[in-house]
Symmetry: C2
Subunit: 200 residues, 2 copies
């Protein structure tokens, strides 16, 4: 209809947010304009700073504006455990369970049909990270989906011959779901019940 | 937990959006950082432009970056009908019904307990707008809440002695609700079934 150009652009731009359709975007835009201008300007600034400033931690590959993220540089964490996940969101989810080892974040999962092989998802960097550390166990916490399982298996086959203990989070997590949507209790349980992949 | 400062600030800032809690804000922030950086930067720019550039139309008081909004400056609209609403969102809602007269936007509703009298919600500007126009009817489309009704009655009492035809949208709209949440069909019906307030 009849919003002025700047309001229309704001509404359109808000639709980049996940789960935000036309009607929600309109409500958000008018709410900001009518009641939250200082908060909206802070949001604009935070977006710009984060989107320009945040890159990837050189050790664990999670999102961070620091060369080495706070999780990697924290000396109090357990250097014997490495948890491999497939997105930065999953670091947050595993962190909620009380896990206090180290992380490595893949760029998604293996997807041969899309041309995403080991190099594309960061397997070489994972191997480098493992060889520079002194891990006694590598926990594979990729998503409990077909692709996540396949990725975990691929990594297990790669690491087991090197004499590393490799485990997979237990199937307390519902099959076919996304790790980030699992409640913390279920995930904590799955983590505690992890099984060695040596027998595979 | 353990997001880096820029990510944490982004998550906090996103919570200014209506209906966005901590978990949704996290999902939004990571989505933008992982998959939508160009879209996120466009959003930052659109926010800044709109929040700095958008003011209020000098005629109808709706949100617009133009001195006179597109609804007020459109020569094809019906100059004999004035629809009074209590927020810019409601202009959009009424516009969806196919109404093609003019608008006046109050700043909310009368709320004596909060110290919001006629001056605070823009009644003097409404009177000025009416006296400079040639309206044959003023349609009161404030919310169908107790406060919206009271505000409509106040305005009716003010305008009726001036010989103006004053109508209230019909109570096809559910009592106690917000106008902007009413579906377009119900609102179109309520508008068509408006009743003269002369008898009150
Ligand atoms: Zn790191
Ligand atoms: Zn206007």
């Amino acid at each position: 209809m009849s919003f002025s150009p700047l309001i229309r652009q704001l509404i359109d731009s808000l639709r980049v947010l996940p789960g935000v359709g036309q009607k929600t975007a309109q409500r958000m835009a008018l709410h900001l304009l009518e009641r939250e201008r200082p908060g909206g300007l802070k949001l604009a600034e935070a977006l710009e700073k984060a989107l320009h400033g945040v890159g990837y931690c050189k050790r664990c590959r999670t999102l961070s504006e620091l060369d080495e993220c706070q999780l990697c540089s924290d000396p109090r964490r357990d250097d014997s455990l490495l948890c491999v996940v497939q997105s930065p969101t999953d670091v947050w989810a595993v962190e909620q369970t009380g896990f206090r080892g180290r992380y490595f974040v893949l760029k998604g999962h293996l997807s041969p049909l899309d041309g995403l092989g080991p190099d594309a998802i960061g397997i070489p960097q994972l191997e480098a990270r493992i060889s520079e550390g002194q891990f006694s166990e590598v926990i594979l916490a990729t998503n409990p989906t077909v692709e996540g399982e396949a990725t975990a298996h691929y990594i297990a086959q790669l690491l087991l011959p090197q004499g590393l203990a490799v485990s997979r989070i237990a199937h307390g997590v519902p099959l076919g779901g996304e790790l980030e949507l699992v409640d913390g209790g279920t995930l904590a349980h799955a983590l505690a019940g992890r099984k060695s992949m040596a027998g595979h």
